[in-house]
């Protein structure tokens, strides 16, 4: 058991015993190999369920406003950025929140392993190596090889807001070029990009797991569910799917915290993040704004400045 897991359990035990919180939102071991699952601990007896490792992939901030009462939340860097945005947007009461910050080395992308070895039968993580027995063979991977794509470009592995920090901190890796993935996509021709996103949109089954996993998609009525007026049909095809995905991304402009939970939640492996990343880069370029870094910095779309760039509107 990792020492962070032990610290999390001890902290949760104290918070619950002292009556400081009603519930601790964390992770427990899932029923599938390399899969942790969100859990809600309300009694001291249950705290030993809590774990912390490279399989804790869900963004728990998505539960922060759904669970009532005073709550402690196990919070990675990206989760903490989502909490900042939620606090800024008045979706959370700070006094009801106790943020248990943990630094994150990144999470495992099970799909990369399953693409090679088939469905995973069993797996163990030890000393930075992941040993896997899959349906079509066994193999060993370094953590770096199977790290989620989001985590490979992560610049905020340490929580930006927290009430307590458990475990050490993670050094932020230097990135020679920010948003290299976006630049690569932009360098492609229109037809190449159309082909790429067309293939991605063909995979989408409109299950809305991306939207529902997203901590910042909290609209009570999403535009896709609205029927007066009906913005789009239930048709599952390239055009309608892109309308949904692009609409969602635009709604996250200046808000998306690049946690990647949308792409991880997608059962079809749609590269949703490619759209979000482009939006994040545009917001950074145009407004020098990164969402969820500080409660004191107003979100890009909430501030008007006379010299805001309008290159998309008029020639500058």
């Amino acid at each position: 058991m990792s020492s962070v897991t032990e610290e999390i359990r001890e902290t949760a035990r104290q918070l619950l015993a002292d009556g400081k919180v009603d519930v601790v939102i964390g992770y427990e071991k899932g029923s599938l190999p390399l899969k942790a699952t969100p859990c809600f601990v309300r009694t001291v007896q249950d705290v030993d369920k809590l774990i912390w490792d490279e399989t804790c992939e869900n963004n728990l901030a998505a539960f922060s406003y759904k669970i009532s009462g005073k709550k402690a939340i196990i919070t990675k860097g990206c989760d903490s950025r989502a909490l900042v945005v939620l606090l800024q947007e008045n979706q959370l009461v700070k006094d009801d929140l106790y943020i248990i910050g943990v630094s994150c080395q990144g999470v495992v992308d099970k799909r990369k392993i399953e693409n090679e070895l088939g469905e995973i039968i069993e797996a163990t993580i030890a000393d930075g190596k992941i040993s896997v027995k899959g349906m079509s063979g066994s193999g060993e991977f370094t953590f770096a090889e199977v790290k989620d794509a989001t985590c490979q470009t992560c610049r905020y592995p340490n929580p930006v807001i927290e009430d307590i920090h458990l475990g050490g901190t993670v050094e932020v890796p230097e990135q020679a070029v920010l948003f290299a993935d976006v630049l690569e996509m932009e360098a492609k021709s229109d037809s190449e990009r159309e082909a790429y996103f067309g293939e991605q949109m063909d995979k989408c089954i409109r299950c809305y797991s991306c939207r529902n996993a997203c901590p910042l998609c909290y609209c009570q009525e999403c535009f896709v569910d609205c029927n007066t007026p009906r913005w789009l049909t239930g048709g599952v095809n390239r055009a309608e799917n892109l309308f949904f995905q692009a609409g969602r991304v635009l709604h996250l402009a200046g808000r998306c915290v690049d946690c990647g939970t949308c792409s991880r939640a997608c059962p079809q492996g749609v590269d949703i993040r490619a759209l979000n990343r482009k939006m994040s880069r545009d917001v950074l370029e145009m407004y020098q704004h990164e969402s969820g870094i500080s409660e004191d910095v107003k979100p890009a779309l909430n501030v008007y400045s006379g010299d805001d760039p309008e290159a998309f509107l008029v020639k500058e």
């Binding site: 599938l32 469905e119 809305y208 797991s209 569910d225 048709g235």
Partner: protein
């Protein structure tokens, strides 16, 4: 009895002027059932399709009728299009799934013309599973990796050939006299091994229907759904989920009446026009999911509406595991009134 894959393929391809062939193929999202030009395009080594074949009979979004209004004249067009189809390579769980959908859309009291016509014009060629995923649990649902229920013709892959069994008259009529040969002793041993295989994962559903009779108000439902995101993944990947919504998609003077999959996990499910929703909480929606599959469907149709394919388990973003939820029902304490 045995037939070489080459000869089987030739027989299927010979029918291509009358039948379209739908079979597993590899595409960007995984293996799925798609129309193929020739039997040689069919993917032979696949665990199961990413999505079940139900959408071939009951599409996710389907135009039922379309209409054009011109003054007081309205022209209505029936949008039903049916093609004679060979559906190749259906796994036992999904073949059983089709039988369960039949109970809803193609029964003594009611025949849904869209589903019914497609189903009647399709011959299902089933395929035994030689590899079994750790999340498969069909053996607990009255099936097995080699059960032929729901197939018109059933195959077991023997490498260069198939063990072929004609199950129904429809299957017999499709291929006619194929000139089958006897299995060798070695092949017979392989067939026996496939037929005796069971899934490693098991659940107990022996008393679940009776138990659920007494569980509508049970506290078990209270926290069960807490981590559920309320997305449609489990329903859309389920071979037996069949809830739908009918709506009008209208633009000025023309429009169509469409049927779209609905999913009990979504907040819009059973939302009334008045704004009232009898299942307004995720708790009520999860109870509905379990009751519908393991209780109501059994009372109405005599069968559990789960085939143990495991897709919902593999696809869930937060690891809601149907096997654990079934187990939880079994272990739940009944509230004594």
């Amino acid at each position: 009895m045995k037939i070489s894959k080459e000869k089987f393929g030739q027989s299927v391809d010979a029918l291509s002027s009358d039948y379209r062939l739908i079979a597993p193929v590899s595409e960007a999202g995984g293996v799925n059932y798609k129309a193929v030009k020739s039997f040689s395009d069919v993917k032979q080594d696949y665990l199961n399709s990413k999505l079940p074949p139900k959408s071939l009979f009951f599409p996710q979004h389907e135009k039922l009728i379309s209409y054009v209004k011109n003054g007081k004249d309205v022209t209505v067009k029936n949008e039903l299009k049916v093609e004679k189809t060979i559906l190749f390579g259906v796994r036992p769980c999904d073949a059983k799934g089709l039988l369960l959908l039949d109970k809803v859309f193609k029964n003594d009291q009611y025949q849904d013309p869209y589903y019914y016509e497609r189903r009647n014009n399709t011959v299902v060629i089933g395929m035994a599973c030689k590899t079994i995923a750790p999340t498969c649990f069909c053996s607990s649902m009255g099936l097995s990796p080699a059960s032929s229920e729901g197939a018109d013709i059933f195959l077991i892959d023997l490498g260069d050939s198939y063990d072929l069994e004609i199950i129904t008259e429809k299957g017999k009529a499709l291929l006619g006299d194929l000139g089958l040969s006897e299995l060798t002793a070695q092949e017979q041993a392989l067939v026996d091994a496939v037929k005796s295989a069971q899934t490693t994962s098991q659940v107990d559903v022996s008393t679940i229907t009776e138990k659920l009779d007494k569980m509508f108000d049970n506290p078990y439902w209270e926290n069960l759904q807490e981590k559920c995101l309320g997305c449609n993944t489990c329903s859309f990947s389920c071979p037996t989920c069949h809830c739908f919504d009918i709506s009008e998609e209208v633009c000025q003077n023309s429009g169509s009446r469409v049927r779209t999959w609905d999913a009990c996990m979504a907040p819009l499910f059973t939302l009334h026009g008045s704004g009232h929703n009898p299942r307004s909480t995720q708790k009520a929606r999860w109870r509905q999911r379990m009751m519908h599959k393991f209780n109501y469907f059994v009372h109405n149709n005599g069968d559990i509406a789960c085939v143990g394919c495991g897709r919902c388990i593999r696809s869930c973003p937060v690891n809601m595991d149907m096997r654990q939820i079934i187990d939880g029902v079994n272990k739940a304490e009944l509230v004594v009134e």
